[in-house]
Symmetry: C2
Subunit: 180 residues, 2 copies
Protein backbone atom coordinates (compact mmCIF):
# COMPACT_ATOMS: atom_id res chain seq x y z
CA UNK A 1 0.00 0.00 0.00
CA UNK A 2 2.49 2.62 1.17
CA UNK A 3 4.98 0.60 -0.83
CA UNK A 4 3.05 1.36 -3.99
CA UNK A 5 2.60 5.00 -3.13
CA UNK A 6 6.34 5.43 -2.86
CA UNK A 7 7.09 3.67 -6.12
CA UNK A 8 4.49 5.81 -7.86
CA UNK A 9 6.09 8.91 -6.45
CA UNK A 10 9.53 7.79 -7.57
CA UNK A 11 8.26 6.91 -11.00
CA UNK A 12 6.44 10.23 -11.27
CA UNK A 13 9.48 12.34 -10.51
CA UNK A 14 11.52 10.23 -12.89
CA UNK A 15 8.94 10.54 -15.67
CA UNK A 16 8.25 14.23 -15.08
CA UNK A 17 11.91 15.08 -15.31
CA UNK A 18 12.55 13.06 -18.46
CA UNK A 19 9.30 13.37 -20.42
CA UNK A 20 8.25 16.73 -19.01
CA UNK A 21 5.59 17.75 -16.57
CA UNK A 22 2.90 17.12 -19.15
CA UNK A 23 3.69 13.43 -19.41
CA UNK A 24 0.54 11.28 -19.51
CA UNK A 25 -0.58 9.76 -16.23
CA UNK A 26 -0.50 6.37 -17.93
CA UNK A 27 3.20 6.74 -18.45
CA UNK A 28 3.73 7.24 -14.74
CA UNK A 29 1.58 4.23 -13.93
CA UNK A 30 3.55 2.09 -16.37
CA UNK A 31 6.87 3.32 -15.04
CA UNK A 32 5.76 2.43 -11.54
CA UNK A 33 4.60 -1.00 -12.70
CA UNK A 34 1.16 -0.23 -11.41
CA UNK A 35 -2.35 -0.07 -12.81
CA UNK A 36 -4.32 3.08 -13.35
CA UNK A 37 -6.67 2.19 -10.54
CA UNK A 38 -3.87 1.98 -8.03
CA UNK A 39 -2.38 5.26 -9.08
CA UNK A 40 -5.69 7.06 -8.91
CA UNK A 41 -6.54 5.67 -5.48
CA UNK A 42 -3.41 7.24 -4.09
CA UNK A 43 -3.57 10.42 -6.15
CA UNK A 44 -7.15 11.16 -7.18
CA UNK A 45 -6.03 13.79 -9.65
CA UNK A 46 -3.09 14.60 -11.83
CA UNK A 47 -2.67 17.70 -9.74
CA UNK A 48 -2.42 15.71 -6.52
CA UNK A 49 0.37 13.69 -8.00
CA UNK A 50 2.23 16.83 -8.96
CA UNK A 51 1.72 18.29 -5.53
CA UNK A 52 3.24 15.20 -3.98
CA UNK A 53 6.19 15.31 -6.34
CA UNK A 54 6.97 19.00 -5.95
CA UNK A 55 5.93 19.72 -2.38
CA UNK A 56 9.46 19.31 -1.13
CA UNK A 57 10.94 21.77 -3.55
CA UNK A 58 8.19 24.27 -2.91
CA UNK A 59 8.77 24.03 0.81
CA UNK A 60 12.44 24.60 0.23
CA UNK A 61 11.67 27.69 -1.81
CA UNK A 62 9.32 28.97 0.85
CA UNK A 63 11.84 28.43 3.61
CA UNK A 64 14.47 30.35 1.71
CA UNK A 65 12.44 33.55 2.04
CA UNK A 66 13.02 34.54 5.68
CA UNK A 67 16.53 33.23 5.37
CA UNK A 68 17.34 35.56 2.49
CA UNK A 69 15.77 38.44 4.32
CA UNK A 70 18.32 38.04 7.09
CA UNK A 71 21.39 37.31 5.04
CA UNK A 72 20.97 39.81 2.23
CA UNK A 73 22.34 43.29 1.99
CA UNK A 74 18.86 44.79 1.76
CA UNK A 75 15.24 43.66 1.63
CA UNK A 76 15.11 44.41 -2.06
CA UNK A 77 18.11 42.23 -2.75
CA UNK A 78 16.45 39.48 -0.73
CA UNK A 79 13.27 39.91 -2.73
CA UNK A 80 15.22 39.80 -5.95
CA UNK A 81 17.09 36.66 -4.99
CA UNK A 82 13.99 34.92 -3.81
CA UNK A 83 12.19 35.69 -7.03
CA UNK A 84 15.13 34.28 -8.94
CA UNK A 85 14.91 31.11 -6.88
CA UNK A 86 11.21 30.85 -7.55
CA UNK A 87 11.74 31.52 -11.24
CA UNK A 88 14.45 28.87 -11.40
CA UNK A 89 12.14 26.32 -9.90
CA UNK A 90 9.40 27.02 -12.42
CA UNK A 91 11.83 27.20 -15.31
CA UNK A 92 13.23 23.75 -14.74
CA UNK A 93 9.73 22.29 -14.79
CA UNK A 94 8.70 23.18 -18.30
CA UNK A 95 4.99 23.47 -18.58
CA UNK A 96 4.29 24.09 -14.93
CA UNK A 97 2.74 27.30 -16.11
CA UNK A 98 -0.66 25.73 -16.02
CA UNK A 99 -0.62 26.38 -12.31
CA UNK A 100 -1.76 29.92 -12.82
CA UNK A 101 -4.34 29.06 -15.39
CA UNK A 102 -6.99 29.21 -12.72
CA UNK A 103 -9.74 26.66 -12.78
CA UNK A 104 -8.56 24.90 -15.88
CA UNK A 105 -6.72 21.66 -16.37
CA UNK A 106 -7.45 20.27 -12.92
CA UNK A 107 -4.35 21.74 -11.37
CA UNK A 108 -6.24 23.25 -8.50
CA UNK A 109 -4.37 21.35 -5.79
CA UNK A 110 -1.01 22.59 -7.01
CA UNK A 111 -2.40 26.08 -7.41
CA UNK A 112 -3.55 26.00 -3.81
CA UNK A 113 -0.19 24.80 -2.61
CA UNK A 114 1.52 27.72 -4.28
CA UNK A 115 -0.89 30.10 -2.63
CA UNK A 116 -0.53 28.54 0.79
CA UNK A 117 3.21 28.24 0.90
CA UNK A 118 4.69 30.87 -1.35
CA UNK A 119 2.30 33.77 -1.10
CA UNK A 120 2.98 34.55 2.57
CA UNK A 121 6.70 34.43 1.96
CA UNK A 122 6.58 36.80 -0.96
CA UNK A 123 4.23 39.05 0.98
CA UNK A 124 6.77 39.36 3.75
CA UNK A 125 9.64 40.07 1.37
CA UNK A 126 7.64 42.64 -0.52
CA UNK A 127 6.49 44.36 2.63
CA UNK A 128 10.03 44.54 3.95
CA UNK A 129 11.30 46.01 0.70
CA UNK A 130 8.48 48.51 0.74
CA UNK A 131 9.16 49.75 4.25
CA UNK A 132 12.83 50.04 3.46
CA UNK A 133 11.82 52.37 0.67
CA UNK A 134 13.19 50.25 -2.12
CA UNK A 135 9.82 49.40 -3.60
CA UNK A 136 7.50 52.18 -4.55
CA UNK A 137 5.21 50.45 -7.00
CA UNK A 138 1.69 49.50 -6.14
CA UNK A 139 1.40 45.73 -6.48
CA UNK A 140 -0.02 42.98 -4.36
CA UNK A 141 2.07 39.93 -3.50
CA UNK A 142 -0.39 37.79 -5.37
CA UNK A 143 -0.02 39.83 -8.51
CA UNK A 144 3.73 39.62 -8.34
CA UNK A 145 3.75 35.89 -7.65
CA UNK A 146 1.49 35.25 -10.57
CA UNK A 147 3.22 37.69 -12.88
CA UNK A 148 6.60 36.07 -12.37
CA UNK A 149 4.98 32.67 -12.79
CA UNK A 150 3.37 33.70 -16.05
CA UNK A 151 6.57 35.25 -17.31
CA UNK A 152 8.60 32.18 -16.64
CA UNK A 153 6.37 29.22 -16.85
CA UNK A 154 6.08 28.66 -20.56
CA UNK A 155 9.73 29.09 -21.23
CA UNK A 156 10.62 26.36 -23.69
CA UNK A 157 14.35 26.90 -23.70
CA UNK A 158 13.89 29.52 -26.33
CA UNK A 159 17.32 31.04 -26.95
CA UNK A 160 15.61 34.28 -27.94
CA UNK A 161 13.85 34.65 -24.63
CA UNK A 162 16.03 35.35 -21.63
CA UNK A 163 13.84 34.66 -18.64
CA UNK A 164 16.15 36.19 -16.08
CA UNK A 165 16.34 39.41 -18.01
CA UNK A 166 12.58 39.72 -18.21
CA UNK A 167 12.07 38.94 -14.56
CA UNK A 168 14.63 41.56 -13.66
CA UNK A 169 12.78 44.01 -15.85
CA UNK A 170 9.68 43.47 -13.81
CA UNK A 171 11.60 43.79 -10.57
CA UNK A 172 13.18 47.00 -11.77
CA UNK A 173 9.70 48.32 -12.28
CA UNK A 174 8.98 47.82 -8.60
CA UNK A 175 11.31 50.63 -7.67
CA UNK A 176 9.24 53.25 -9.40
CA UNK A 177 6.04 54.81 -8.16
CA UNK A 178 2.86 53.85 -10.00
CA UNK A 179 2.06 55.67 -13.23
CA UNK A 180 -1.49 56.54 -14.03
Amino acid sequence: MARNEQSILDAASRVFSTSGVDAPVREVADAAGVGMGTLYRHFPTRSDLMVAVYRHQIDECADAGPQLLESSASPFVALQEWVHKYADFLTTKHGLGNVWQGDAAGLSALHQLFLDRLLPVLAELLEAARTSGEVAADVTPYELLRAVGDLVAWNVNDPNYDVLRIVNLLLAGLRQPPTT
Copy 2:
Protein backbone atom coordinates in the same frame (compact mmCIF):
# COMPACT_ATOMS: atom_id res chain seq x y z
CA MET B 1 -17.97 27.05 -51.13
CA ALA B 2 -17.12 30.63 -50.24
CA ARG B 3 -20.61 30.74 -48.82
CA ASN B 4 -19.65 28.05 -46.32
CA GLU B 5 -16.33 29.63 -45.49
CA GLN B 6 -18.08 32.80 -44.46
CA SER B 7 -20.65 31.07 -42.32
CA ILE B 8 -17.89 29.11 -40.60
CA LEU B 9 -16.03 32.31 -39.90
CA ASP B 10 -19.14 33.95 -38.53
CA ALA B 11 -19.93 30.95 -36.39
CA ALA B 12 -16.36 30.80 -35.15
CA SER B 13 -16.24 34.36 -33.96
CA ARG B 14 -19.63 33.92 -32.36
CA VAL B 15 -18.59 30.71 -30.59
CA PHE B 16 -15.16 31.99 -29.59
CA SER B 17 -16.65 35.05 -27.97
CA THR B 18 -19.34 33.17 -26.08
CA SER B 19 -17.72 29.86 -25.20
CA GLY B 20 -14.16 31.12 -25.14
CA VAL B 21 -11.24 30.67 -27.46
CA ASP B 22 -10.81 27.08 -26.36
CA ALA B 23 -14.22 26.05 -27.64
CA PRO B 24 -14.13 22.70 -29.43
CA VAL B 25 -13.90 22.78 -33.18
CA ARG B 26 -16.99 20.60 -33.31
CA GLU B 27 -18.94 23.34 -31.64
CA VAL B 28 -17.96 25.77 -34.36
CA ALA B 29 -18.90 23.26 -37.03
CA ASP B 30 -22.31 22.71 -35.44
CA ALA B 31 -22.91 26.43 -35.02
CA ALA B 32 -22.14 26.91 -38.69
CA GLY B 33 -24.46 24.04 -39.64
CA VAL B 34 -21.57 22.34 -41.35
CA GLY B 35 -19.76 19.02 -41.08
CA MET B 36 -16.29 18.57 -39.70
CA GLY B 37 -14.97 17.75 -43.14
CA THR B 38 -16.14 21.02 -44.56
CA LEU B 39 -14.68 23.02 -41.73
CA TYR B 40 -11.34 21.30 -41.98
CA ARG B 41 -11.09 21.72 -45.72
CA HIS B 42 -11.34 25.46 -45.33
CA PHE B 43 -9.25 25.65 -42.17
CA PRO B 44 -6.90 22.68 -41.96
CA THR B 45 -6.05 23.44 -38.35
CA ARG B 46 -7.62 24.98 -35.32
CA SER B 47 -4.91 27.58 -35.54
CA ASP B 48 -5.84 28.50 -39.09
CA LEU B 49 -9.39 29.11 -37.99
CA MET B 50 -8.22 31.39 -35.24
CA VAL B 51 -5.93 33.23 -37.59
CA ALA B 52 -8.85 33.87 -39.89
CA VAL B 53 -11.03 35.08 -37.05
CA TYR B 54 -8.47 37.38 -35.47
CA ARG B 55 -6.44 38.59 -38.41
CA HIS B 56 -8.44 41.73 -38.73
CA GLN B 57 -7.95 42.74 -35.13
CA ILE B 58 -4.28 41.92 -35.25
CA ASP B 59 -3.85 44.04 -38.35
CA GLU B 60 -5.63 46.86 -36.63
CA CYS B 61 -3.30 46.57 -33.68
CA ALA B 62 -0.27 46.51 -35.94
CA ASP B 63 -1.42 49.56 -37.87
CA ALA B 64 -1.90 51.50 -34.67
CA GLY B 65 1.83 51.41 -33.98
CA PRO B 66 3.21 53.95 -36.43
CA GLN B 67 0.10 56.03 -35.88
CA LEU B 68 0.73 56.26 -32.14
CA LEU B 69 4.34 57.10 -32.76
CA GLU B 70 3.26 60.22 -34.60
CA SER B 71 0.44 61.33 -32.39
CA SER B 72 1.93 60.69 -28.97
CA ALA B 73 3.82 63.10 -26.77
CA SER B 74 6.89 60.90 -26.80
CA PRO B 75 8.06 57.56 -28.17
CA PHE B 76 7.76 56.01 -24.74
CA VAL B 77 4.17 57.11 -24.39
CA ALA B 78 3.49 55.65 -27.81
CA LEU B 79 5.12 52.41 -26.76
CA GLN B 80 3.08 52.35 -23.61
CA GLU B 81 -0.18 52.96 -25.37
CA TRP B 82 0.52 50.39 -28.00
CA VAL B 83 1.32 47.79 -25.39
CA HIS B 84 -1.96 48.62 -23.69
CA LYS B 85 -3.75 48.09 -26.95
CA TYR B 86 -2.02 44.79 -27.48
CA ALA B 87 -2.77 43.74 -23.93
CA ASP B 88 -6.41 44.69 -24.31
CA PHE B 89 -6.70 42.54 -27.37
CA LEU B 90 -5.25 39.51 -25.64
CA THR B 91 -7.23 40.12 -22.48
CA THR B 92 -10.56 40.03 -24.19
CA LYS B 93 -9.70 36.68 -25.74
CA HIS B 94 -9.29 34.59 -22.64
CA GLY B 95 -7.02 31.68 -23.25
CA LEU B 96 -5.23 33.12 -26.21
CA GLY B 97 -2.10 32.69 -24.15
CA ASN B 98 -1.42 29.43 -25.87
CA VAL B 99 0.00 31.47 -28.70
CA TRP B 100 3.30 31.81 -26.90
CA GLN B 101 3.45 28.22 -25.83
CA GLY B 102 5.72 27.48 -28.72
CA ASP B 103 5.25 24.27 -30.61
CA ALA B 104 2.40 22.99 -28.50
CA ALA B 105 -1.32 22.89 -29.11
CA GLY B 106 -1.08 23.38 -32.86
CA LEU B 107 -1.28 27.13 -32.68
CA SER B 108 1.70 27.66 -34.90
CA ALA B 109 -0.14 29.64 -37.55
CA LEU B 110 -1.40 32.16 -35.05
CA HIS B 111 2.02 32.32 -33.44
CA GLN B 112 3.52 33.10 -36.81
CA LEU B 113 0.98 35.80 -37.49
CA PHE B 114 1.87 37.52 -34.24
CA LEU B 115 5.51 37.40 -35.15
CA ASP B 116 4.98 38.66 -38.67
CA ARG B 117 2.63 41.49 -37.92
CA LEU B 118 3.27 42.66 -34.39
CA LEU B 119 6.95 42.10 -33.88
CA PRO B 120 8.14 44.69 -36.43
CA VAL B 121 5.76 47.24 -35.00
CA LEU B 122 6.93 46.76 -31.46
CA ALA B 123 10.52 46.77 -32.65
CA GLU B 124 10.03 50.18 -34.19
CA LEU B 125 8.35 51.58 -31.10
CA LEU B 126 11.01 50.19 -28.82
CA GLU B 127 13.81 51.48 -30.99
CA ALA B 128 12.28 54.94 -31.06
CA ALA B 129 11.88 55.01 -27.30
CA ARG B 130 15.44 53.86 -26.92
CA THR B 131 16.92 56.55 -29.12
CA SER B 132 14.85 59.16 -27.34
CA GLY B 133 16.56 58.01 -24.16
CA GLU B 134 13.39 56.90 -22.44
CA VAL B 135 14.26 53.21 -22.50
CA ALA B 136 17.52 52.11 -20.97
CA ALA B 137 16.82 48.44 -20.32
CA ASP B 138 18.30 45.72 -22.44
CA VAL B 139 15.42 43.79 -23.98
CA THR B 140 14.63 42.55 -27.42
CA PRO B 141 11.29 43.32 -29.02
CA TYR B 142 10.54 39.62 -29.10
CA GLU B 143 11.10 39.29 -25.39
CA LEU B 144 8.86 42.21 -24.66
CA LEU B 145 6.11 41.01 -26.98
CA ARG B 146 6.13 37.62 -25.41
CA ALA B 147 6.46 38.88 -21.86
CA VAL B 148 3.42 41.09 -22.18
CA GLY B 149 1.58 38.23 -23.82
CA ASP B 150 2.45 35.86 -21.01
CA LEU B 151 1.51 38.41 -18.39
CA VAL B 152 -1.87 39.05 -19.87
CA ALA B 153 -2.95 36.00 -21.68
CA TRP B 154 -4.17 33.78 -18.89
CA ASN B 155 -6.13 36.48 -17.19
CA VAL B 156 -9.41 34.90 -16.15
CA ASN B 157 -11.11 38.04 -14.92
CA ASP B 158 -9.47 37.53 -11.58
CA PRO B 159 -10.40 40.56 -9.47
CA ASN B 160 -7.15 40.08 -7.54
CA TYR B 161 -5.00 40.42 -10.63
CA ASP B 162 -4.90 43.82 -12.24
CA VAL B 163 -3.43 43.22 -15.66
CA LEU B 164 -2.89 46.85 -16.50
CA ARG B 165 -0.97 47.46 -13.32
CA ILE B 166 1.34 44.52 -13.98
CA VAL B 167 1.98 45.52 -17.55
CA ASN B 168 2.81 49.03 -16.41
CA LEU B 169 5.20 47.57 -13.89
CA LEU B 170 7.07 45.87 -16.70
CA LEU B 171 7.05 49.03 -18.77
CA ALA B 172 8.37 51.02 -15.84
CA GLY B 173 11.25 48.58 -15.70
CA LEU B 174 12.19 49.56 -19.23
CA ARG B 175 13.31 52.98 -18.09
CA GLN B 176 16.10 51.63 -15.93
CA PRO B 177 19.48 50.38 -17.08
CA PRO B 178 20.05 46.63 -16.81
CA THR B 179 21.07 45.24 -13.45
CA THR B 180 23.61 42.47 -13.25
